[in-house]
Symmetry: C2
Subunit: 449 residues, 2 copies
Amino acid sequence: MLDKQLAVALTDALASADMERVATLTADVNIPDLADFIAEIVLPGEEVDVLLTQTIERRAEVFGYLPLSLQEAIAPMMTAGQLSELVTHMPSDERADLFNVLDEVRKQQLFQRLAWEEREDIRRLASYEDGSAGAIMSSDYVWANVGMTVGEALDVIRRTAPDKETIYQVYVLDHTHQLMGVVSLRELIVAAGNVLVDDLMTTDIVSAFVNEEQREVARLISRYDLLALPIVDAAGKLVGIVTYDDAMDVQEAETTDDIHRGANISKLEVNFSDAKPLDLYRSRVHWLVILVFANIFTGAGIAYFEETIAAHIALLFFMPLLVASAGNAGSQSATLMVRGMATGDVTARDWGKLISKEIFVATALGLTMALAVMAVGYFRAGPDIALVVSLTMIIVVMVGSLIGMGLPLLLNKLNFDPATASTPLITTIADVSGVLIYFGIATVMLGLG
Amino acid sequence: MLDKQLAVALTDALASADMERVATLTADVNIPDLADFIAEIVLPGEEVDVLLTQTIERRAEVFGYLPLSLQEAIAPMMTAGQLSELVTHMPSDERADLFNVLDEVRKQQLFQRLAWEEREDIRRLASYEDGSAGAIMSSDYVWANVGMTVGEALDVIRRTAPDKETIYQVYVLDHTHQLMGVVSLRELIVAAGNVLVDDLMTTDIVSAFVNEEQREVARLISRYDLLALPIVDAAGKLVGIVTYDDAMDVQEAETTDDIHRGANISKLEVNFSDAKPLDLYRSRVHWLVILVFANIFTGAGIAYFEETIAAHIALLFFMPLLVASAGNAGSQSATLMVRGMATGDVTARDWGKLISKEIFVATALGLTMALAVMAVGYFRAGPDIALVVSLTMIIVVMVGSLIGMGLPLLLNKLNFDPATASTPLITTIADVSGVLIYFGIATVMLGLG
């Protein structure tokens, strides 16, 4: 967030097209803050003006921080020369992302101006599937050869540092580019110059394949406290690295997805505030409509017990509560399970233990709620119905909890992602069960008519 | 995760008390994997045996990776000498955490064996509030003095590196320990040895105060792609750093909290699989019981319309659906809002725009669902009720969505955390509104009795 005073001064300078003043004002601004300022510019074209006031290194960094949709909009406003200079200075992973959104004409123009090596790099990085390690990895890593001394490795690092994403992890490769070890700059710095890199490096390497899921890449980086995770191809050759900051972005995006999924919202490709109404509609309509059709079963359940209801209309006062309680208890235990499975906290080994714990907890919850509803029921509908309602409460909370716990386990056993379908499915099953159990018990205990 | 074969060999060696073999087998194992292995050990005391096979540096690291509850259980099994050696080698932040869980006797024993400086450090770090930056920061940072040359700074780094959490960010301090600038090891490495650190350092520093919330610290680290965030006291003096890996742990824990909150589960201090039944009960019972009492209003709503319902019992078939639809639409838009506000994507400036977009989306959703339910309603209950149900659907989806969007905004305006109360409150309000709107429309359109 830009300092308010600075933002005003900057807007003024921009309005009077005083680009020298813009350059002075922005020289020390943090990259993400400057990117935010540019993203807020209303007049098309001024984004480019501001970018051009920056050194080419800063310009490339700021550009990389802009939302991809804005990069796409700004790129055509630059000359082919400006764009290729910018692209040459961007980190390889951001460059590949930009290429994926450029139109064919621009792409060809750019390709002609880039060196062969850079072209190949872009083609390769742009070809990996969305959501895979390959799609976020960078090929700007520092590597040393097996057999080098620490002094030689430090020379390589000093020489190549300006183009690299990080220089704090050095990858040791053999002549076929096979990843043999990893050594940190920290270890190199404190070691004597004539020591062999081979004697310092760790050979127990944590790495991932190019087609690994990004969520798993982020998990590995977080678990092993890595600065960067080396990405290898099927032959074990190093093809790129994913840095911790990209992993943090993945974690944040996954969190948003997880939280949305808990409210039955499908994946949104963009931010909520940037999302088009149509995309928002699509992301939400899916489960809402499924709910309508799932209701056919609940409706049928109610219809089946029509006589009981007509005879004891006070039963209705508690129907929304009992149905909601079953669904709530179910979604609580499903959420605990699914999140536990996602963080690796819950493993197959634990299931027996967890299920017995859940039965205990659900019984306690059911009893507590039964007591609460007994009091409400007694005053509103008399002792008979209060008894029916509280007995039902115990059973629906237990059934809901067990469905909530069991379904993710079942989905997992069947090799489905337990997170995808759980909550809405569980709520629907719990709804139907709730209605059937409630009026079933009422029919038996109160008698027909 | 340890290789299966290795795990078996290790268990065998441990069973036959062959500690030399344990030492050989574990020498190259990754720290987190070894910690996991130790955490799974069943026989008390064997944890210490395995730890003692490691070098003191690795031992301290592995120990720091163990869950705090296990650290607490293992500590008394070590001699006072073993424990103080271990504690001396732990990173300062983990050391402070351990101290917080030790009993008084152990604490005093340890304090006597530690150097004055270490004692003061522990006392200071252990005194910060849970959830604050101070509670996760480390005092093992590298600093240089204003006026040093690059060569001098590199010498300091080399000399102090072994005890530091990270050496990749160097903090430049004046003689009062005031934070004047930050320079990266990368910049130092590529610069000439006689350049002044002052000429290289960034003075536009991103930092946080000791009492800042951890969530905000993680956000800053992620936004500015920092390796470590400097933490300063009210006077601007550097007191510690929070590293990116701690920020990733915070992010993960916050995600779990957010997701649990979405399912109305209160904060759990430990993992789901480690949680005691009583804690699980406590974390879940809260909202379930509130639900029971909120139901008094829904029940009263139904009671008010008893006559209408008795005359048109088919209306009941759709009650669970309409109530659920209002609640679902509401929790969808609340989730989008709350998450957008948490990630900083939605700001006060956007509200007008967002509300008009939401009205549009909600209308479209309501119309779609009305069409779906019209079909179901026609076949199950005839044209009159189908009309009532589909009209109700449009209105409840809109009302639900607007409550879901408006309530977080309102809570935010009133300076409450919008995430805390939203979902259950919204579901409850949507439930009551759903019932009232439904039977209200039915009474008007179908006539009384």
